[in-house]
Each structure stands twice: as structure tokens, then as C-alpha cells.
Amino acid sequence: MFHPRSRSVGKPSSSDVAGATQKKLVFRHPLLVRLTHWMNVLCLFILLLSGLQIFNAHPSLYWGKYGADADPAFIDIRAYRDGNSIRGETRIGSLAIPTTGFLGASEYNGALSVRAFPSWLTIPSYRDLSTGRRWHFFFAWVFVLNGLAYVIYGIAAGHFRRKLVPNTNELAPSHLAHEIADHARLRFPKGDKARHYNTLQKLAYLSVIFVLLPLMVATGLTMSPAMDAAWPWLLDVFGGRQSARTIHFISATLIVGFVFVHVAMVLLSGVWNNLRSMVTGRYAIEVEKHP
């Protein structure tokens, strides 16, 4: 099997001592995927940090149509007076977790101050809701246009069908169990198998691309009073504006979780190879050396 755009690398690989394999660069990521990937990195970084600035203006989450100070919040990040100092506390339901130094109360300009998320996690670092909103809404547009370009390309070029949709064999429980076991032992596919994403990867990417990211946009729109007038069904889908705000926060948390795992996998499965493939498009795999 010879990919027209792949080429062999001159230097033999470490396992080449046995004379069995050599490294070969295969073309993995088309230009549009690489560009939209890095644009997405920038957008998600700014959207998260400006989003936390906006959250800090009212650090409580409710369920339903309304929610304010007097209403029961099920997530709440607050500061309480504690003698001459303050302590931060994060409440999830009836569970209260002391989070002084990180959530509720954290260092700002050398003093412990009242802030839900710390200054190093917000844009701007100081408290400024209006600026946070400007950054959030501008980059929301960039994120949506970038995402649309990616999705249109993915459908038109058959990218999703060929690379991301798992086949029936891959979805078989025994196969999935095997992959999960391999992942847990940090054993990554080699050789021809490494040409393709594995099933767990495919499922993770598909859920982020088609569930979590669209959910962020839809719940974001539901927080807009004008959009609720234009598309009132948004309120029915999410059970009210405050539910939508809560889902927006939870979904953002899941995306942050995905990014942590994604970056960990990139580091563990060959950081330079992965980075090169997302910059130049070329990914090195080990193939059998032909005589």
C-alpha cells in the first residue's frame, strides 16, 4: 500500500537494528484541517478565559427559567469573611468544598481578594465584565465561522466519513474493550494501524465536534434575550435561560476535560510526530522494510 504523498525518511528508526522496520512519513492532515485546528485552539483559549470573566460577575448557576440571589443555586463559588481574612468556598449541591487560593478567594496584586475564578484564568486579569463580553462575543464569531468552514469541508471532502465515522467492527464491544485496555496501558497503535484514528479517538472527536461545540453555541445563543425572541424554541430545548447558562458552563468544563486528555495523549504518543503532523500535515509511522 503506497500513499502517493508519503515518502520514506532516510534515517533508520531505533527498532531498525533488527532490520525490520523504517519510519515513513504519511500525509495525515489536509491544510484546511490544520488551519482550522489552530484557529480553534486560539478561539477556545480566549472564549474560556473571557467566559470565566463573565461568569465571575455572577458566580452561581441555577436550573430553570429564572435564577438570582434569592433562588437556590446548585453550583456556587463564593467568598466568606473569616476573621480578618476571607475564605473561598465552592458549593455543588449540598457539598461545600474549601477552595481558598483558587476558587472564591485568590491572590490579586499580592492580596487575597474576592474572585470566583483567579485572575490568571480570566481575560482581562482584572475584573472588567464589559471587556470580557467584547472579547467573548468577537471570538464567538471567529469560532463559529472557523467551525463552519471545517464542517463544510469535512462533509464536502468526505473527511468525516473516511476518517472519523467508526465502522460496525470498530464499535463491537470486544473491540472497544480491547482499545480501552490498550489506552490504559498507554500502548498506541503502530505501523499501518497508526495510519488511522482508533475508535476511542474517533468517538471523542465526533462528540466534541458534533455535540459539545454546537451545544456551546446553542446555549450561548439562549442567553441572549433578542435570540430568545427570534427563536423561542431555544428556551424550550434547554428548559429556560438559566438552565442554558448552566449547560453552557458544564459543556465548557467537559471541553476543558477533553483538551487535557487530548494534550496528554499528544504528549504520550509522540509529541513531535503529532505536532509536525498538525503543522506540516505529515505523520511518521513505522512500516516493514521491503527487501
Binding site: 534515517k11 460577575a57 434569592a70 481575560i123 425572541a229 513531535w272
Partner: protein
Amino acid sequence: MIVSPTRRRLLIGSAATAAAALLGGCDALVDNQHVARVLEGAEALNKDLQRALLSDTTLAREYTEADMSPVFKANGTQHPEGDAYASLLDNGFADWRLTVDGKVDRPLSLSLAELKQLPARTQITRHDCVEGWSAIGKWTGVQLGTVLKTAGLNTDARYAVFHCADKYENTADGQYYESIDLVDAFHPQTILAYTMNDQNLPVAHGAPLRLRVERQLGYKHAKYIMRIEIVDSLKAIGRGRGGFWEDRGYEWYAGI
């Protein structure tokens, strides 16, 4: 080995420098006026798109009494300072007058009783604060469009400016004011409310009269209205951006 050790060190070094620059540079970018101007461009895009999706009469959702917040949070000024407001309040606002002037054919001076004689509209709507919370309440008042038609607008009228009794900040330009354009001014749900939850409008919520402009955020809903001025431009009022919070960086179009 595809990446040589020196190249690797260089890459690690540049990545670390880039990360540091990114974190340290955020505030520098935020404070840059050119960057701010570019980002503000999204506001016009949001306004144009939302206006395109909404007809001039598309209503914000109206709720039932069962949906109402048990406690409607009061925000912003809770009680205007000064003797002028205190004496109006002492008298149950019997001496209060709403002035309607500027680019109108017939300037008006209306008492609360006169406003209450005009056709009323009652609506149970959701109030969305820019901070993120929401409260649902019941409002009764006269449609702003009714008042403006009575006054008769000049052909160059563009905005309704609401001058309020409260000084939100103790500075020369700290007086609260707001403005909306004629699309929102003549929207059926844009009312000058004098009751809230079937009671006279409480002081904390803007007695005797506040604006409801249901397709925008809470800070547009001016409380303690004393005067409605019709203008062709917002430049000459306050710092020229159309409202107290707008003058302090918030969007004039607050549909999002």
C-alpha cells in the same frame, strides 16, 4: 530521530516564550485601543443580525404567574439620593411629572394619573441582567409608542433618551440615563411601567416609572424616569455613547 536535540531545545524554548507572552500579553492586548476598536465591530454585527432575525413586532416570551420569581432582585440604584426625589416620594409622586421633549411636535408634561388613564399593557416577562442572572416579573404600563405618538415625532427623530432621577456615580457625568432607537421605542412590549407584580412600582425597582425593553438586557431598562428626550444623535449626551453603562464600556445594543 526526526527532530535534532538542538532543534528540540529551540522548539521548547520558543513554546515556553510564546506561552509566557500569551499570558502576560493578554492584558496588554486588552488595553490596546486599536484592538478594542476591532473587537467592538462584533457589536454592529450582532445588532444587524439580530434585527434581521426579528421583525419590529416579534415579542419576547411572555410567562404565566406560575413562572414568576418569588423574589425579584433589585439591582443598580435602590433608592435615589437627594431632597428632590425624597419630596416626590413623600407626596406619593403626586407632584411628579414626566417631561417629553426634544424633537417632538408637542412637548408633554404628564402626571402619573394622566399616564394611568392611557391604554395599559400588562406583561409577565424575564429580566436578564448583563451579570448573568434572570428574574421573571409582571409589569403594567403604557406603551412608549402611545406617548410618542401623542407628542408627535419630528422627521429627524432617531432615539428616545431616558433621563433618570438617580445619580449612579458621584461624578459630574454620573447621572443615570439610557437610550433606545425607534425600532425598540415602538415595539409593542416597550412600556413605561408604573406597576410591578400588581403593586405600585417599588422604589427599589424605579418608582414611579421605569422602562421595559424586553428584547435587551437589564441595564437598558431605565428606572426613576423623569424626562424622555427625543434626539437625532446621542453624541451630545453624557460621554456620547448612549447610556451610563455604555459610557463605561458596555454595548449600546444589548440584545446579547
